[in-house]
């Protein structure tokens, strides 16, 4: 890829991603009183992350079995209230170990 082409891609990425974040942040400065809107916005982070995670996570390692092991480990660790980093490590480790076990078994 030519360097000039790279910069134009990057400029587009940056402009869109930045404006999507900052415009709504700057425009809305009064408190929204509407109960529906407030409730809707309160649910957004969890529904976004839920929909981003499932079912995509099962295809993240190239093997549904190792990914499933990672998800299980992450769910258990998160349920026990572990921190973000710990949960992420548990997921990766479980997937890695399951992959190694499968290699040995097959």
């Amino acid at each position: 890829m030519k360097t000039g082409v790279f910069w134009s891609y990057l400029a587009v990425m940056f402009a869109v991603t930045y404006l999507v974040r900052v415009l709504p942040f700057v425009i809305f400065h009064k408190k929204i009183e509407n109960k529906f809107v407030r409730s809707f916005l309160a649910y957004i982070p969890y529904t976004v992350l839920g929909a981003m995670t499932f079912p995509a996570v099962f295809y993240a390692t190239g093997s549904v079995i190792t990914a499933g092991a990672g998800v299980t480990a992450a769910l258990i660790a998160a349920y026990r209230g572990k921190e973000l980093f710990t949960v992420a490590v548990c997921a990766s480790l479980a997937a890695l170990l399951t992959g190694l076990l499968l290699q040995v078994a097959l």
Binding site: S8, V12, V22, I44, G50, T53, A56, A78, V89, G99
Partner: protein, 235 residues
Amino acid sequence: MKQFLQGLKDGSAIGIGYLSVSFTFGLAAVSSGLDWWEALFVSMMNLTSAGQFAGITIMAAAGSCLEMAVSQLVINLRYALMSISLSQKVDRRFHAGKKILLGFAVTDEIFAVAMSREQEINALYFAGLAVLPYLGWTCGTLAGAVCGNILPENVSDALGLAIYGMFIAIIVPAMKKDSRILKITLLAVVLSFGLYYLPGVSGISSGFAVIICAVAASAAGAVCFPMEEETKEGA
């Protein structure tokens, strides 16, 4: 200053988490044909996971700038919703100038941690919260791009789960604490499975699918289980 330090502390876990996720981004970027410094610039200027992964795919496929713009808009539209939520929780001294600077740092995790605070969000706190994730994101990308190719494939595959592990670490405690969030998040997940597997709708791009599921489930939540005033308890 105390607020800034508290933000740093609250952001440290995100920063460490981002190290591993951006490491995998650095790996992917270089293997898709970018130079190490190009991968680094992408991370420094975007600070987003899903959008960047989509971006390098379009670069590798030599897609048009319009395609790039639309994909980034769709995948990152959730940030607009988060920024609106955030605008409702910042304190009165969080002026437009600070928003123009700090709004750049709205990510899924920074947003979630900021919103989980009891009190209103102070600009210094938010700045502190953003510092370590930003450093983690850029340093991790650099490390992944420079030394990524020496990792065995099974290790880099397993690292691909790190970002989802972080997402799970954010949603599960909230679901445990609040049965309304539990039900509505499960609804979003079920919808997401539906859009992924059902014939006819499974061709929808993953960015669009996330928006449809999140908007539909959150709207259902707002109708069925409206949240009572919860941001009044500012300290």
